[in-house]
């Protein structure tokens, strides 16, 4: 449904691979929207994967010039649409499989997110245009799934947008009937988000020397 004048946008190199055991009658479908001007837009992908326990295919998230706030809405809506906690677990595990490769060199102590029952490594960099780039990995599939959502949300975003997100905004994603409000070791992804923000701040300080300077490149 792209208009004739749409530019075909090549997704970044993080092309998702189908899990080898999935029986997929349909090939992966990538949906594109016309890319307006922002070369740093993040692509999202929609995949139809059927698991032997039939999982509802994920709602295709649209991308392009979505702000972090808009992406947050999409994410929250998606998880809200999964009433059964077990479906959220399945969705998260599916997302875990989409997480791009994490280079071994990144598995260093300084990249470890502390205070988690699962191990998480987080790489935070700022690219030449001043956007924040994140790479993450974990030894827990469910945690990887959460991290994928965080990456989808924040990778390539402006530092200001990263710092604006509050943990409460992401409550809907909590697996379980009762959202765990208290911060605890179990809330690994809370810790990951906080770590992303802390290190973003640190990079801002390094780059601009003053955190109050405009953070939108």
């Amino acid at each position: 449904m792209n208009s004739a004048s749409a530019t075909v946008f090549r997704p970044p190199t993080r092309f998702p691979l189908l899990p080898p055991n999935s029986h997929n009658p349909n090939p992966p479908r990538i949906q594109y929207k016309p890319n307006h001007s922002n070369p740093r837009s993040i692509s999202t992908r929609s995949l139809q994967i059927s698991h032997r326990k039939h999982v509802t295919p994920p709602h295709p998230p649209e991308f392009s010039t979505l702000t972090v706030a808009e992406k947050l809405q999409i994410l929250v809506k998606e998880f809200k649409s999964l009433p059964e906690p077990i479906d959220r677990v399945k969705r998260l595990i599916h997302y875990a499989s989409l997480l791009p490769e994490f280079d071994e060199s990144g598995r260093v102590e300084s990249n470890r997110v502390t205070g988690c029952t699962a191990q998480v490594w987080l790489e935070v960099t700022m690219d030449v245009e001043g956007s924040m780039r994140f790479r993450v990995d974990s030894d827990s599939e469910i945690t990887k799934g959460f991290c994928y959502c965080l990456i989808w949300l924040l990778d390539g975003a402006a530092a200001g947008e990263v710092l604006e997100i509050r943990v409460e905004h992401l409550e809907e994603m909590n697996v379980g009937i009762l959202p765990i409000r208290a911060s605890s070791r179990v809330n690994t992804w809370h810790n990951v988000l906080l770590s992303m923000q802390r290190r973003t701040k640190a990079l801002i300080m390094e780059a601009y020397g003053d955190p109050s300077l405009p953070l939108l490149p």
Binding site: N21, V89, A96, S97, T117, A118
Partner: protein
């Protein structure tokens, strides 16, 4: 759900029923359903004695309302996290309720009717604890908030006034954080040195190493009785012997033993022993320290305030005798009374009976879990001489324990724990970051174990399908 366990079910013949010895060996007639009560006036040969052995798990289950519920996606709850905390029978809940409804009042001070009654019941609870562990007098029992506070009490009160720089405290690497951190804090203040005993190849604390580490320099040995992760049991008698030979004291963390077996402090010879109420069918908020009279008598106060004083002046105060000396402020009165009710409940069943049942269940859990491919259980292999507690910490190859626990909970209603179980040094030693743990109590049944294992297999299948 009914499982037959692969036992060939043969109804006893009439002559067998008439033999009074027939039912003594529980394993030979492991019936898991109750005989229907015969209503008609049928032949006498089919009137089965009502006392067909039903497992302890089945017979006590109805006392625990909380176990009869559905969770998450409508699965029935299978509660296997007892090492973290136990469930409470109605008798205990009623006791606490009754306290608040009928005679709630502050203890020790008041003269009026309610206060006298509350004091009576509170002190009665203390006597029950003393009797339960065979302390020589009830003043050897100090009520605390929990076992952790009890250990801190010993660290600050006994430790600060008895340890000199270079004095040694011997512990094992399998200790719970509550039995490690207070001594670390203490060693910072007193310059005492902590020495740790590691594990043997059988994944039990190396008692030979412990014996060697205990020397003239040792002032205190701190050990668990039953490990909350390895399920191993330490030979406390021997350890106490080695320690006393060099003039050292012994503190035993009995949190995982007092709820599950007979613990006799006279027999064990320990100087200090701690346990928590909430792991033994009692309420949270109360635990206790057992200390030999002469030791407690010589110890300075821990927390200061009301109750623990004798006379208070502006420039100094004098202190009460133990146990009051160590019970500052208004205690958890209702909760202590609840603990007393829990002890009554457990004693009525009999700790030996509970222990025997759990040994059987422990073996069943271990053997069942072992059959699941990819599972690695920590701690010793059970044998004729090596008994495991009814818990298994384990990992599954390629799966994070948190993922296992989450799926087991969400999909199957099975409650286990994942993480480091307050034993990070032990996990580090074993080369792992975390583990999953299923821990049982006397109200669990073999069906619970079956549900767990079935759920675990399904969990593993589920995650494998994504690979």
């Amino acid at each position: 759900m009914m499982t037959m366990e692969g036992v060939v079910l043969k109804l006893p013949s009439f002559t067998q029923l008439m033999n009074p010895n027939h039912f003594t060996n529980r394993t030979s007639l492991n019936l898991r359903f109750t005989f229907p009560k015969s209503s008609s006036s049928s032949t006498a040969s089919l009137s089965v004695p009502a006392a067909a052995p039903v497992s302890l798990g089945h017979s006590t289950r109805h006392d625990f309302e909380i176990l009869h519920q559905k969770v998450n996606n409508g699965s029935k709850l299978v509660y296997l996290d007892n090492a973290a905390t136990s469930q409470k029978p109605s008798a205990v809940i009623d006791a606490v309720n009754n306290y608040y409804r009928s005679y709630n009042s502050n203890v020790h001070r008041g003269i009026h009717f309610l206060s006298a009654r509350a004091t009576d019941e509170y002190e009665m609870a203390r006597r029950k604890v003393a009797a339960f562990i065979n302390a020589s007098e009830s003043s050897e029992i100090v009520f605390t908030r929990n076992a952790t506070e009890a250990i801190n009490l010993v660290a600050y009160s006994w430790g600060m006034s008895n340890l000199q720089p270079k004095d040694e405290i011997v512990l094992t690497i399998a200790e719970h954080h509550s039995a490690i951190v207070p001594w670390q804090l203490l060693s910072e203040k007193t310059d005492a040195v902590l020495k740790f005993v590691s594990l043997t190849e059988d994944e039990v604390p190396d008692t030979k190493m412990l014996q060697e580490l205990v020397s003239e320099k040792t002032k205190l040995v701190v050990v668990h009785h039953v490990s909350n992760m390895l399920a191993s049991v330490l030979p406390i008698n021997e350890i106490v012997q080695w320690a006393h030979d060099v003039g050292a004291k012994v503190l035993v963390d009995a949190c995982q033993s007092v709820p599950h077996m007979v613990v006799d402090v006279q027999n064990l010879g320990v100087d200090f022993l701690v346990a928590s109420s909430h792991k033994m069918c009692g309420p949270t908020g109360v635990g206790f320290l057992y200390g030999k009279s002469e030791l407690l008598a010589a110890m300075p106060p821990f927390l200061g305030g009301g109750e623990m004083i004798s006379d208070v002046f502006l420039d100094h105060s004098t202190y009460a005798d133990p146990p009051s000396r160590f019970e500052a402020g208004t205690p958890a009165i209702g909760e202590a009374i609840g603990l007393g009710a829990a002890i009554d409940y457990l004693s009525e069943i009999g700790m030996q009976k509970i222990h025997d049942y759990e040994v059987d269940l422990a073996n069943y859990l271990y053997e069942s879990l072992r059959t699941v491919p990819g599972v690695r259980i920590y701690g010793p292999t059970p044998s004729a001489t090596v008994h495991r507690a009814a818990l298994c910490s384990f990992n599954v190859e390629g799966l994070h324990p948190t993922d296992i626990a989450t799926f087991l909970d969400q999909q199957h209603g099975v409650a286990i724990r994942s993480g480091h179980h307050c034993a990070q040094p032990l996990h580090r030693y074993l080369g792992i970051n975390a583990s999953a743990r299923a821990s049982l109590y006397f109200y669990n049944t073999k069906e619970d174990v079956d549900d767990f294992v079935r759920g675990l297999i399904d969990t593993i299948d589920f995650f494998s399908s994504f690979k």
